[in-house]
Symmetry: C2
Subunit: 210 residues, 2 copies
Amino acid sequence: MTASPVQRRTQAQRREGTIGALLEATVACLTERGYAATSTAAVCAEAGVSQGALFRHFPTRQALLVATAEHVATRNVAAFRLTTEGAAVDTVDEVADVLAHLRAAVLSPTNQTWRELLVAARADADLRAALLPARELLQAQMLDVAADLWGERLSADDLPAVLSLVVNMLDGLAFSALDPDPAAAPGRTVERALRLLAELIVHRYPEESP
Amino acid sequence: MTASPVQRRTQAQRREGTIGALLEATVACLTERGYAATSTAAVCAEAGVSQGALFRHFPTRQALLVATAEHVATRNVAAFRLTTEGAAVDTVDEVADVLAHLRAAVLSPTNQTWRELLVAARADADLRAALLPARELLQAQMLDVAADLWGERLSADDLPAVLSLVVNMLDGLAFSALDPDPAAAPGRTVERALRLLAELIVHRYPEESP
DNA sequence: ATAGAAAGTGAGTACTTGCTATCTAACCTC
DNA sequence: GAGGTTAGATAGCAAGTACTCACTTTCTAT
């Protein structure tokens, strides 16, 4: 009874624990407060650690944000892969279904985090450079996922184009979807737009057997 | 020779002059520095006026930003209208041409300003509420422009969906286009994507005369 | 010309920011 | 255990923030 119940962690465990808490806290702050309001103090408060702890593991605020970016990038591509894995994409309905799931994935907090960092990087050359590797990795892996989905039916030219179309449309949607209720009035419009996209994708490669 | 050459402006002219300079300066700061770095000091330096002048005309920083938003919103819809006015949209090539012009318009500084404010509004309830009227006005006017372009050939259901598709795709493109050279390596991909979009739009209403 | 109002100035306010220096608590090696 | 190293807490700093206020300059009405 001399030691408190949850203790005797190894140094590496302690370290990993607070680093993880800081990354998660950064994600939370970014999604619900935005980039500018994600101060080191706010992140520390959310993570339940002191500022000194933060600056022990990350030399600068930007380092924390870059680490967070890499953290969510891998999670995002994993979510995409999960969403599309084994999905049928032969009919318009099936493709529309995939698109609906992709839309939900794009609207997720981790993806919102990624977007927030991308926007911030536009006006910050250092951050932009630091984010470049993660960006290229994510792009390549997204292309892999797309190839798994549509690779056998879309040409090498069309595949990245369709990917760009889908991803950019969903991202644009996420940016302009700042209304409290994401499934608000124009929801029907968005659904219809996604259906048109699905038609485009399916009709791009009409089924061999009519 | 007692008075300097360019003087004797009326008070209204002076007022309008500095307000205009402040709005333009805000646009410049937002596009090249981003929302967070658009401080009142930065705007005043860019506009060449003192902070006191700013706070005479705008009670708060947010008021300045909202005024800027309304300022650019009207300019943006005018640019869109100009871009599409009288354009032919019968063939895939013609629609692709329109989309290319729309893309350029979406990448313009004033549109970038609008986007910057939209993103900031996501994490700021007050700003979001203040931006709502301008947002709805812009949306309605964009729908008008789209109706002028495609109204006779797309159904009332499809029109807003196609508009959403095009605008969101272009916006998403603008967000992720933070590379120095916007017409960089994946430029071909984007062009191909826009062409696919054009095909979708044209094939949505096959010409009556085959 | 002169009084009064509006426009513009710039130093100053209270506060927040990222970050550091100093120190204590927890862990590892012996 | 002791000695040394790492992790974390706390107070504080310089720089920057939005905004204010006493003041001068510029226009307007008489």
